[in-house]
Amino acid sequence: MAQPLHVLLVDDDADDREIFTWTMSNIYPSAVIDMAIDGQDALEKLEQWEYCPDIIFVDLNMPRMNGFDFLKEIRQMDRWKELPVIVYSTSSNPKDMARSWQAGATDYIVKGTDMASVKRDILQALEKFHPPLPEHEYRK
């Protein structure tokens, strides 16, 4: 049986975490969604877990460790070098985009202002970047 799709969302905003979960339950009901509240939390969870998520969505402006620093950290680790990490931020500021690419982002999505665009953007990212199931190349 195919492994379910594992998605990690790193976001300090509880509302955004709720919106994301709601969206995923609509477009990808079988997916397993994990949450981290900031970069530091995400790194600790990634270290602890037996498995590796298939794709990560990460916010930028977070306390403790922001999205840029999280990206830089995980791009230094061999096992997470190729992992698709999508920046998922409210910011449409070109500087934030440039910094994200430099830090090693796979893609950059500005959080949608309505449900339709939120769904569309997440779905597109999943289709574009998550590896065909089942696969294990990103697993530990």
Partner: protein, 377 residues
């Protein structure tokens, strides 16, 4: 003919503007024309047979032997600029041309000198050179002043540019956030109303919408407060910081009672500044100290001269963020736990800088924070 030319030459010498004087090789004057009288004030009778040294200021007496030496060697002295003294003691600037006089056998027997009074010319040169120097100095001062003004303007421009960038960031990020939430949760609410109605879920959506619109109005208010600080239209007066703190604490009465906060206020200075801005400064700092606490808040406000210290026992922050916390929209804590627009401390910094002071913070997570405000005396 020879006689005629002799008297002709004598007439030329007599009517010359310049002093034409002859002297022996011992430096004794042997002839003295009308020009010499006009320039030096002595008549021919007074001067002929007396030493030329009479005309030379004491500090230049060594010039004469040197001149005589050159004459004896048959050399001329051309346009030698020096100073000579008149009968009434005035010192003149003189240009001297001296040539040896030879007898029929070519032997040097004396010297003829033409002395031109160049005092006026020298004075004019001095005035021109002084004028040039003064002009140069004034020009340099003006350039310096303009450069300084340009520098100041540049700094102000850079600052306002930076603030503009921050405002662009507000538009692109912080104002978007609540707006997005309002829109999306309204959609979810709508969807919920058409399907199976889960009232508690719908209520949470409504709460989220209200929360987002509250955040947005607070943000707009704070941004406006911040932008108003740029204007210098508020009047400067003597501000008693004790009075300011007293009034601010009055505003926080309810929170203080609810949290059972202990607040100690020592003697604070009276400073010159904009009173409403100091209210805002203490409102933000005391508000933060009350907000970022997990236990019973204890706040101490004291001063050492114009150094004001505000210490709390709140959650604190890692010292490496001490510089960043004063940046606009720099949030160190999750919005879920500690609400806020992220402008408060940026506002504090701007207020203190408006008054020519500096603000810094030191802290350790869990050990409380201390804010230091240094105001000019």
């Amino acid at each position: 003919m020879e006689l005629a030319s002799h008297s002709w030459l004598a007439a030329i010498i007599h009517s010359s503007e310049d002093a034409i004087i002859s002297k022996t090789l011992d430096g004794i004057i042997s002839s003295w024309n009308e020009g010499a009288r006009r320039i030096f004030g002595y008549t021919a009778e007074e001067m002929i047979g007396t030493p030329i040294l009479r005309l030379i200021p004491e500090d230049r007496h060594e010039e004469e032997p040197a001149i005589l030496e050159r004459l004896k060697r048959g050399e001329r002295v051309d346009h030698f600029e020096t100073k000579r003294i008149t009968k009434d003691g005035r010192i003149l600037d003189i240009s001297l041309s001296i040539s040896p006089i030879r007898d029929n056998n070519g032997r040097i027997i004396g010297a003829s000198k033409i002395a031109r009074n160049i005092t006026d010319q020298k004075e004019a040169e001095r005035i021109i050179s002084e004028g040039r120097e003064r002009f140069q100095k004034e020009l340099e001062a003006t350039v310096k002043e303009r450069t300084r003004e340009l520098g100041d303007l540049n700094t102000r421009l850079a600052r306002s540019n930076y603030e503009l960038e921050q405002f662009a960031y507000i538009a692109s990020h912080d104002l978007q956030e609540p707006l997005r939430k309002i829109h999306i949760f309204s959609e979810l609410l709508e969807e919920g109303l058409t399907g199976q109605i889960d009232v508690s879920k719908l209520n949470t959506y409504l709460e989220k919408i209200k929360g987002a619109s509250n955040r947005m109005s607070k943000l707009i208010r704070d941004v406006l407060d911040y932008s108003r600080l740029s204007r210098a239209d508020q009047s400067i007066s003597h501000v008693s910081l004790n009075l300011v703190v007293k009034e601010v604490l009055h505003e926080f009465e309810l929170v203080v009672a609810e949290k059972k906060a202990v607040i100690e206020v020592d003697a604070l200075p009276v400073v010159r500044g904009i009173s409403p801005q100091f209210h805002q400064l203490f409102r933000n700092l005391i508000g933060n100290a009350l907000k970022f606490s997990t236990q019973q808040p204890k706040i101490v406000i004291r001063a050492e001269g114009h150094h004001i210290i505000i210490k709390d026992n709140g959650i604190g922050f890692p010292q490496e963020f001490a510089g960043k916390i004063f940046d606009i929209f720099q949030r160190l804590n999750s919005q879920d736990v500690y609400s806020g627009s992220g402008i408060g401390l940026a506002l504090c910094k701007k207020i203190v800088e408006n008054h020519g002071g500096t603000i810094k913070a030191e802290s350790e997570p869990g050990k409380g924070s201390t804010f230091h405000i240094f105001l000019p005396a």
